[in-house]
């Protein structure tokens, strides 16, 4: 089982950051790697079990299922149903935690998955440094960068 963990500090209050990332169909509005997204079967994007079908800017198409969403604990958990990445049993969680010392937010993005052993290092790097950190960098830009 491969594991990815990336975390950062966003210079905005957790409710504002959550409002930006909560929409399971909203990746194109905040993540620079995502071109378009739709929820299958016309379901609401906060219906647990709904499926998002989205396309990356490089053309790859991915289908993901919403497994858990909490407006109280500020997390979103999902699995990959279909992708060209060559991963199995992929489950990821995006979690926000308020930093009470200043109006900032601690953001954590984790994933666990199975893959061919020779591809693990490359996948961990592309998911962690590319997808997750790329999303955090976009949030940092949107909320005014990282403050210490």
């Amino acid at each position: 089982m491969a594991r990815v963990y990336v975390s950062s500090v966003i210079n905005g209050r957790s409710d504002r950051v959550w409002a930006r990332v909560r929409d399971f169909n909203g990746l194109p509005s905040w993540h620079p790697g995502i071109a378009e997204s739709r929820i299958e079967n016309g379901e609401p994007a906060d219906k647990i079990g709904c499926v998002r079908d989205f396309r990356l800017r490089n053309g790859d198409r991915i289908r993901e299922k919403l497994l858990g969403l909490s407006d109280f604990d500020l997390f979103c958990t999902y699995s990959i149903l279909e992708s060209p990445m060559g991963v199995a049993n992929y489950v990821a969680t995006l979690r926000l935690t308020p930093i009470t010392d200043g109006d900032r937010t601690f953001v954590e993005w984790t994933a666990e998955f199975d893959c061919a052993p020779e591809r693990e290092a490359e996948l961990v790097s592309s998911i962690g440094s590319g997808v997750f950190q790329g999303g955090f960098d976009a949030l940092k830009r949107h909320f005014g960068g990282d403050s210490r």
Binding site: Y5, V6, S7, S8, V9, T97, P98, I99, T100, D101, R104, F106, E108, Q133, F136, D146, R148
Partner: protein, 153 residues
């Protein structure tokens, strides 16, 4: 039931912060409110269930029991057993997490307790500011000072 959460970011790798916080008997070396501390019955400070008996600078004597400790998650929990301060059913949780974007540490300190009617505001202020925020500041200063020493060495 009163709930308090305080969290901050320390500008040091999480392993260095954990090395300070992990010692359940070490708070008299870093927390400004704690004068002396000892683990009862000669137990090790990482023995689950061990009790630390400590004195605050104002002379108050407290006893707290270690409920959980995880080097993997960098978390621990403890509860108050005896205190002259009106904190009842006080259970606290400490969690560290690496900020991989910058090699810093997220530190969260939370608790729940009840108190005597009329003392809610003062107990909330005391725990949040005098214990948690003062603890953050002390560890931040301690790690900054030791980083400075390393820099000069």
């Amino acid at each position: 039931m009163i709930r308090i959460v305080r969290s901050t970011v320390i500008d040091a790798p999480n392993d260095r912060v954990w090395a300070v916080l992990r010692d359940f008997n070490g708070h008299d070396r870093w927390h400004p409110a704690v004068a002396t501390s000892a683990i009862e019955r000669g137990q090790s400070a990482d023995q689950l269930g061990c009790v630390r008996r400590f004195f605050l600078r104002d002379g108050s004597e407290l006893r707290e029991r270690l409920l959980t400790l995880s080097d993997l998650e960098q978390t621990f929990s403890y509860c108050l057993l005896d205190t002259p301060i009106p904190l009842f059913n006080y259970v606290a949780h400490v969690r560290l997490a690496p900020v991989t974007d910058g090699d810093r540490t997220f530190w969260e300190w939370r608790c729940s307790f009840s108190t005597r009617k009329g003392e809610e505001a003062e107990m909330t202020r005391m725990v949040g500011e005098d214990i948690y925020e003062a603890g953050f500041a002390a560890v931040r200063a301690r790690l900054a000072a030791s980083a400075g020493l390393e820099g000069r060495a």
